[in-house]
């Protein structure tokens, strides 16, 4: 792959991380409690909390994050992040330790670590989609 292609993807994934990351944070802010939102209504008669939409209750968050759409968003976010972060490291390190065997070793080592992180992250997404975690 030419450096121009690699760097084009670097910039593209940078923008996509911003877009998908914003979705992610938007979702959190929609879910999160705010003074205007009533988080729950306490039903004194049978002593239960009745949930009202938009809360950070664990089960609620889990239900949202287990949907196929959000699972896909996270998987894509993970992909873009892993590419952007590890290629970024490669660029920085190749500038600090330029040339020769060291640069090659760094590139391949980062590739391996990136793969491990990607597989580990994907596992989390898949497991949570399957209702686990």
């Amino acid at each position: 792959m030419r450096e121009s292609q690699i760097m084009f993807l670097q910039y593209l994934t940078g923008i996509l991380v911003l877009v998908f990351g914003s979705f992610h944070f938007l979702l959190i802010s929609v879910l999160s409690p705010s003074p205007e939102k009533i988080l729950y209504i306490y039903n004194g008669a049978n002593a239960t909390h009745v949930l009202v939409g938009g809360t950070l209750y664990y089960t609620w968050v889990k239900a949202v994050y287990s949907s196929l759409i959000w699972g896909s968003v996270f998987e894509l976010l993970l992909t873009f992040l892993v590419y952007h972060v590890f290629n970024g490291f490669r660029v920085i390190l190749s500038e600090l330790i330029p040339g020769g065997r060291a640069e090659k070793i760094i590139t391949y080592a980062l590739l391996v670590v990136a793969l491990v992180v990607f597989i580990w992250g994907s596992r989390t997404v898949v497991v949570s989609l399957a209702g686990g975690l």
């Binding site: 030419r2 084009f8 660029v91 500038e95 330029p98 040339g99």
Partner: protein, 267 residues
Amino acid sequence: METLVLKGFGEVVKTVTFRVRRYDPEKKEIPKYEEYKVPVQKGMTILDGILYIKEHLDHSLSARYSCRMGICGSCGMIINGKEKLACQTQILELGKDLIKVDPMGNYGIVKDLVPELSKLFNNHQSVKPFIVREEEEPKSEFLQTPDQREKYAMFTDCILCGLCLSACPTSASDELYLGPQALAQSFRYIVDNRDLGFEERLNVVDSKHGVWRCHFSGACSEVCPKGVDPALAIQLLRKVMTTNIFVKYQQKGATRGPERKSALGVS
């Protein structure tokens, strides 16, 4: 003691101290600064000051220069912390009584203020800084409109002084980085409508230590004594490289003018 003055300059205005970095790799001593008192006459440049030191105070000081008029690009050095041509820097205009002179950075040192410039020249050579054509001896002119020339005109002013590479922070950390001078020159030839060498330059320019390693600090353009803007060339070069991913960059080669006879009548 009588003050020695240089011929051809105005009266002595004041005395300034030159603090010059001295280093001789052959002596295996660590670099040090030495101070010299120089009587400054109106019109004296830093290079004149250095030559004054060399003639009257310390013959062993080494510096590199030739034209003394900002054309040959030989006298680049760091003057009071900034890359400048010594022959184009008036001492009085600096407005300081202490002037620190260092050799250019990001190069090796031959001696004192003389940098070892093979990196600059090798990088320049590696981007094929000439119009690449197949035919050995063209029989007619390649036509070029003023607009076509305007695309690269600014970058032809480079005098290969190497100040931009000395100021470049990427060159400071990445010794394999092509540097602003070579990248600007590769752009200059790639967009020249007479050139056909895009593919040949691609492996060097679009490489791990090529055009993509610029951080756009802009130090190169800031220090260039010729008003060349290498940082701009690098951005434009990136645009060419990115577009080339999707639509192959086409070099058609300029159209030809009528065939001409040489002055001797031999075509």
